[in-house]
Amino acid sequence: MTKYDKLIDDIIASKNFTHALSVVTDKIKQYPNTSYFYALEAQVLALSGEINKAIDKANDLLARFPSDVTTLKLLIDVYELCDYTPKEDVFEKVSKKYPTFQLIQEWLDHAIQNFDILGMQKATMSLTKSVSSSGQSDENIKIIKLWAAASFMLACNCCKSQLKPIQVKLYPQLGLKMIEHLSLSSAPEVYVQSKLLELSGKDEENLEKLGNFLKKENDLELKILYFNGLEKAKKYDVLYETTKHYLVDMNEDDWDTWKLFLESASHSGKLEDAISVVKSYAVTRNSQLALLELSKYSEEYPKDEYVANYISKYGHKLCLFPDLSIFVKSGDDITKILEVEYETRDIPKLLSGTRKPTEADVIFLVNYLKLKAYTDQSLFKSPEFITTCCTFYNATKPLLNKLVEFEYFPGFEFIILTIQSMITQAPALDELLIIKLIIILENTLEKNKFEFHLKLWLISLYSKLNLFSKSSALFDSLKIKSIQLDTISYPITNRSSTVTSNVSKLEEISKFFNFNVKNEVPQMIQNCLHSLALNKLQGFVEFQIRLETSFTKISNVLELCNAARLTNHKTAIDDRLKPTLRKYYKFWHSAPGSTDEEVYGKINDNRDLTTFWDCGIHTKLEDVDAKLNSINPLFNLSYLKLMVLRELIIYDIHYPNYEDYKKEFIELYESSDASLTSIERWSLSAIVQLIKGETKADQIPEAPSNLLNFNFSHYYFTVVNTNKQIQYILSNHGATWGISGVKLLKSISAQLNRLIKSFREESLELNVASKHILSEYKVKVSDWFVNDPIGSSFKITAKQVNTSFDSIEDANYKSIVELRKI
């Protein structure tokens, strides 16, 4: 905490604030000119709950303009602790008084560390003023002016909603003024200029400057800006000639260029010429799709013909489906085209077993089925569709034996389509169905062991079956790390604290955010500025904000809170998790007008919710999704906010605006769009009743009976957790809720204690009970794979069924062990 005195640090850490205050007071007497101890005094006061005194002390100190950076940072912390916004930003105020280059640099560092874009803008602007007077070289002056210009660009592009209309108008012009007399030689420098010209509405000048630069250097980023600028300004003649030049003369076969080429041709009456260019171009994927794009502009060019052309040329490439799904819509009838190609490729012979499958066959069949299902989604409801998928899979699976190491067998898609179809056709996602799906998927994965969609589906299904250890092992096999922890850890962390006490993944995620992101990203933003990679700056800053305010980061803190509560790790919540949650709460209130395009001032959901669906027809199937979400539904934003508020209500009782927590919590709870399970809704209702002053608790939902369901562990973990929350409130701030509040909490706790006691007694029987259920399932599932017309088409052997059941039984036992720990 302090670089001056470790003893004070230790006393503060031990929360002995009275002692800390007396030591600090002595220090002030001893060193009356050291501003740091005054800041420390304010901090100790704030920590001990003397908010007003702390604010007064901090304001007194700030009025004396301390210029020591550690002191300034401590002052900022104090204001945060007090939830107080000083009239003027701390660094700004002091830098105005002492505009030294060094101090302003510190201000900039601080702004970067705290992803404060407007602070960056002000600091860089101040640097330009101090740099001229500090005898810096011309080169340094240029660099700093470029930083200031780039920061104006950032402010307008990233937090426009925080600016006044006059600033929105003025900032780009000020940015341009900054670089007015500089000779801009590199592409990143011209990039900043171009963005500022665009923001100022100086389109003509922008295009001229970009065009001139591109004549000298073919920079990819500036080329894209130039094309987009021409399109926006509707300069179709120039756009046509330019895109043609790139496509034909420079041989840059780029899809976006093709699109703009055809669009500009249609606007400038040059379609005939454009058509001849497309037709005389080399046969490439882009040029063939350009034919399809052409049909958008000219009726003479029938779409069907080009669809058929594309399928015949690229039917054996996996890109066919994503490529065509841009042009072919759900509901379009392309059956005839597909059937012709099916015959041409001699598929009937393959299916009758008279010829061997090739790689081209399997990819064509995958495309064929995907396009059929995509254009007619009612196919998912048909049992024949499942049989067809199985037939195709069985006819092509000999190729699995020829797979080169690390390669994928594309035929896995038949199985994905099958399981989606099976879920669609089932009235609900019950345990028996899940087990069948798991066996099918495991069997498919066995020989296609690197296919990650199969793994993602299995992870999800195992989690529904309450087999965390299986999901977790599969997840580990994906070797997920670094930024993937933010985007794709949710399949195993979503409510993991309610099925296991294992927090290793949660801790790994926490380390990623609090160590890697915190240390690496601000440093790299500094590097970005110093190496003048200014065309990357906005991306860097948005990247940082999205990580710092990430949905996963917050949900991870919530999961850690749950876990810490279960293990009675109270200090972890008080010292580490609560302050973080309060910070998030404040952050999502900091920029109320923030628009959808802005990443600033809100929770950013970086979770990758598409890769899971990026197979089959590459679209989320609503019905399947709803059924999957009926067990352990994915957290949504309301859920997150509600849970953050719950924790703050329990642990942040001294927050100056505590009443706001309560109000917002009730509003969110009553709006009921949070993705809560029934036991969670009940658990939260206890807090709702407490706030509302009600005296009678809601009835606890009935306990689930099947251990092979996520809800089983989830229910008991949540019950125990709720009890611990209540105990905490009762022993830490029960009195503030009045007699009726205490009575309510005690009565709920009594109910919960009874329930937990009887569960603990019964839990000894869990193993026997679940073995019994499993053996019943095994009989049914084995029968289905042998005797059912659909089940038998998977050709799953009795041995494979047995292996799967053995591993389910093993994982089930691990879940029981977890349950016994609570």
């Binding site: 980023e221 080169v404 190491e405 690390f406 890697n516 991306g539 990758d608």
Partner: protein, 189 residues
């Protein structure tokens, strides 16, 4: 359909369909960001018509005098977009960015590839790369002690190179590179 576009840091949120691949390394954040700050034009991606990322090239320049070259740190393609020439396209683009006098003027392009990554080796050979040397134990774990007597395809790397125009005498490549064994510490520029 494909376009080539510069990578921005925020693209890293979108790379799962590519990076879940077992042969594609997930690096620390600073590693990617360093490429963006130091070689902003050598980290680029291919995109689909929906503007999603379908593959990328992560490259840099390094070395002194005749060893001055561009280095492919990663080239990788979403499985749905393989075998349509995307990796070849990204590799050729790198040549065209680093071969000319301005700004890089490299003598050659090089890369390391696991000796058992047959697919990638075929791709590079088709593009004109050849094995310069075999780096024993390059991909081994911290506890594996590499030995020239025990070659392990899953742990060794081929250093593959393709000479560019500046290397008029093709000094950056050699015959029989597969037989030239070196240790990781011998590889520096």
């Amino acid at each position: 359909m494909t376009s080539i576009k510069p990578v921005q840091a925020t693209d890293l949120f979108e790379t799962n369909p590519i990076n879940l691949d077992p042969l594609t390394e997930n690096f620390y954040i600073y590693f990617y960001l360093q490429y963006l700050t130091d070689w902003p034009s050598l980290f680029y991606k291919s995109t689909s018509a929906r503007n999603t990322i379908t593959g990328y090239m992560l490259a840099k320049t390094e070395g002194k005098s005749r060893d001055w070259h561009s280095h492919i740190s990663a080239v990788t393609i979403d499985p749905n977009y393989r075998r349509i020439g995307l990796a070849s396209w990204l590799c050729k683009a790198l040549e065209s960015y680093t071969e000319p006098e301005k700004p890089y003027h490299a003598y050659f392009v090089d890369l390391f590839v696991k000796c058992n990554n047959k697919t990638a080796i075929t791709l590079y050979e088709k593009l004109g790369y050849s094995v310069f040397r075999r780096v024993v134990g390059y991909y081994g774990g911290p506890n594996d002690i590499p030995s020239k007597k025990k070659l392990i395809d899953n742990e060794d790397a081929f250093d593959m190179r393709k000479p560019l125009k500046r290397d008029v005498k093709r000094k950056s490549v050699r015959e029989n590179g597969r037989k030239q064994l070196v240790f990781p510490e011998d590889v520096y520029f």
